[in-house]
């Protein structure tokens, strides 16, 4: 009985309205992110099994092979599209053909097959994003597998018709194709597999969003606590009645938080750079991966780190100014804790989306909702810098500056007026010391 009473009291305190609200918000965020990701996967799934092929050999054998390939792919609800590739400038050729990847059957393919030598097939893929779900397609290995079986089918049908297979033909049929891969990023291409590029970049792709999330949450908590504690502990009244302007009070708070945030951003960026160097030093070695990534522009140079750092800093300033407003709303420690929810929500959505999907390719309605969250642009900053998405970067930067100006204006208006004492969470007026009289 006594235990039950104690248990119920503890449960009531822990399962507060704030806790329930947090749970509901988490479900909403995860559902929204899940829906957005599901749409992205659905869009990709429609074309995932499609194979674009360019037959530069143009022989009866390759025609038969493509027919076999088409039959196999069609059986899997995919399509085989023929495209023209006329030069080695793959970036330009993919753009011209409006495809993300292509399997190139080079000249001399049939000759190699006839000599029972492994024939070379080239797989070229464009990477538009480092997000996990953004580059879902049949991929090089699947294309090679299906081409191999097509080669085997054609070889079997011709050789079996002509008599027995020789031992060299049998060993050739075990591995009839040799794969060469190229990856295109923006207007650059390198002879490296897209899957290797994705693997090497995944650390970089993940570390920046994680840093962003941590920094935004830390800095917003910092200023929110600074303001709400002053209000809750009633030190704010003492401070604001001192012979200093309110502008000085707000500026000192913002500036100190910004200095700490800038230091954190700089330290994290240096850490990220060192971490990436460490990753690349270990994996590249003699393989030349590091050079390939450099040539593709997927390793950020100093100026790109500055650009990413700038958007990160802007996000932190926005988080600070919004937290300044939210801090004013706090009535007690619990409500101050709840007030971090909007910031957390607005940080988690782009954080999760940017890790899994290419936000630029989402449906317009969802994309603009996500773009309206100012932190999104910082989560996309490193990718925009590496993939040369200058328009998206600059647009995001301008939007963040405008958003920051609006937030700062509102924060100043609140701080300079009575609202700093009368506003509180839920729109209810805080204790003013005087009961209204009619």
């Amino acid at each position: 009985m006594k235990f039950r009473t104690l248990f119920l009291k503890e449960l009531r305190e822990m399962l507060s309205s704030q806790t329930i609200l947090m749970m509901i918000v988490s479900v909403v965020i995860l559902s929204f992110a899940g829906q957005a990701m599901s749409n992205a996967v659905e869009d990709n799934a429609e074309t995932m099994m499609d194979i674009n092929i360019c037959d530069l050999d143009d022989t009866e054998f390759t025609h038969n092979m493509i027919k076999c390939l088409t039959a196999n792919i069609n059986a899997l609800d995919g399509e085989v599209n023929t495209v023209d590739i006329t030069s080695d400038n793959y970036a330009e050729e993919l753009k011209k053909a409006n495809v993300k990847s292509v399997v190139i059957i080079p000249e001399g393919f049939t000759e190699s097959v006839e000599k029972s030598e492994a024939a070379t097939v080239k797989f070229v893929q464009r990477l538009n994003s480092l997000a996990t779900l953004s580059n879902m397609n049949a991929g090089s290995q699947v294309a090679v597998d299906y081409l191999s079986s097509a080669v085997k089918e054609v070889v079997y049908s011709t050789k079996v018709a002509n008599g027995k297979l020789t031992s060299s033909e049998v060993s050739f049929l075990n591995e009839p194709l040799k794969l060469e891969e190229s990856t295109v990023v923006a207007d650059k291409s390198e002879d490296i597999s897209a899957s290797i590029v994705m693997s090497l970049c995944s650390a970089q792709g993940m570390i920046v969003p994680i840093m962003m999330f941590v920094l935004v949450m830390m800095s917003s908590n910092m200023i929110l606590n600074a303001v709400s504690t002053e209000k809750i502990d009633k030190t704010l009244e003492t401070l604001l009645s001192a012979p200093i302007s309110r502008l000085s009070v707000i500026a000192a708070k913002m500036l100190s938080a910004a200095v700490v945030a800038a230091m954190q951003a700089a330290v994290y960026m240096i850490g990220a750079k060192n971490m990436m160097n460490g990753v690349l030093d270990n994996v590249s070695g003699e393989s030349g991966y590091s050079e390939a990534l450099n040539n593709l522009g997927l390793t950020m140079d100093a100026s790109q780190y500055v650009l990413v750092g700038l958007q990160m800093f802007l996000s932190i300033l926005i988080a600070l100014s919004v937290s300044l407003i939210l801090g004013v709303l706090a009535r007690d420690a619990k409500s101050a804790q709840t007030l971090t929810l909007p910031i957390m929500m607005c940080t988690m959505i782009p954080y999760m989306l940017s890790m899994f999907v290419d936000i630029k390719t989402m449906s317009p309605a969802v994309r603009y909702i996500v773009y309206a969250i100012p932190f999104t642009h910082s989560f996309m900053a490193s990718e925009n810098a590496m993939f040369g998405n200058t328009g998206v970067y600059v647009g995001g930067l301008i939007y963040q500056v405008i958003f920051l100006a609006v937030c700062m204006f509102l924060a100043l208006r609140i701080f300079m007026s009575d609202r700093i004492f009368t506003m509180s969470i839920g729109g209810r007026r805080a204790k003013t010391g005087g009961e209204a009289s009619q």
Binding site: D233, E237, T238, S241, A242, P243, R429, S437
Partner: protein, 248 residues
Amino acid sequence: MENEKVLEVKGLSKQYKKGVYASEKVTFDVHRGEIFALIGPNGAGKTTTIRMISTLLQATEGDAVVSGHSILTEPEKVRKSITYLPDEAGAYKNMKGIDYLKFMAELYADNKSQAEEYVKTGREICELGDRLNDKIASYSRGMQRKLLLARAIMSKPDLAILDEPTSGLDIINALEIRRMIKQLAAEGMSFLLSSHNMLEIEYVSDRVGIIAKGHLLETGTPAELIEKYKADNLEDVFELVVMKKDIK
């Protein structure tokens, strides 16, 4: 000199929405060296009036002039002439007591030597000795209140506004504070107090203003009010004025 007005409150009102006043047309003066107490029930408008005079809230009507400076047009100059100690005010818990005094002294002082002088005075007033080197988080409520009072008085402002100055203090400390207020007033500092403790008000105040539902209903010395209402003490006067008057 004693007739010099340090504070002139002229029809001061605070309206939160149309027709709803927290404080309405409040008018009174505080002279140099005078201790003026605002008394009233909870929610009467005392703190709103005090906050307007302290420039924390903006008056919707009327004005208050502190040492010749209007709260409407020269709030920063007003803040230079006053100190305000809110009811249940706190201090920065992670600071040491001495650092808090230094921090506040630097906000009020014009130069370093003046700040040092304020800190020296604050040290003497709060009588916390070596405990000033400890973090405020380790202070008892009474110690914290003494530190805050010292902070409010150390710069010797023209007008010290103290909301419930002795709340949280034991009888001995409260007596000390009351004596100190009277002594400082004798030296020329003016006080605007707010308190629920009628005995304290009767003992310490030169004049009293009784406020209820945003209206200042009576002003006068405790003796004058006791005489006027033929009461035994200020508590009875308070009851007669607040409970019996029909306030529109």
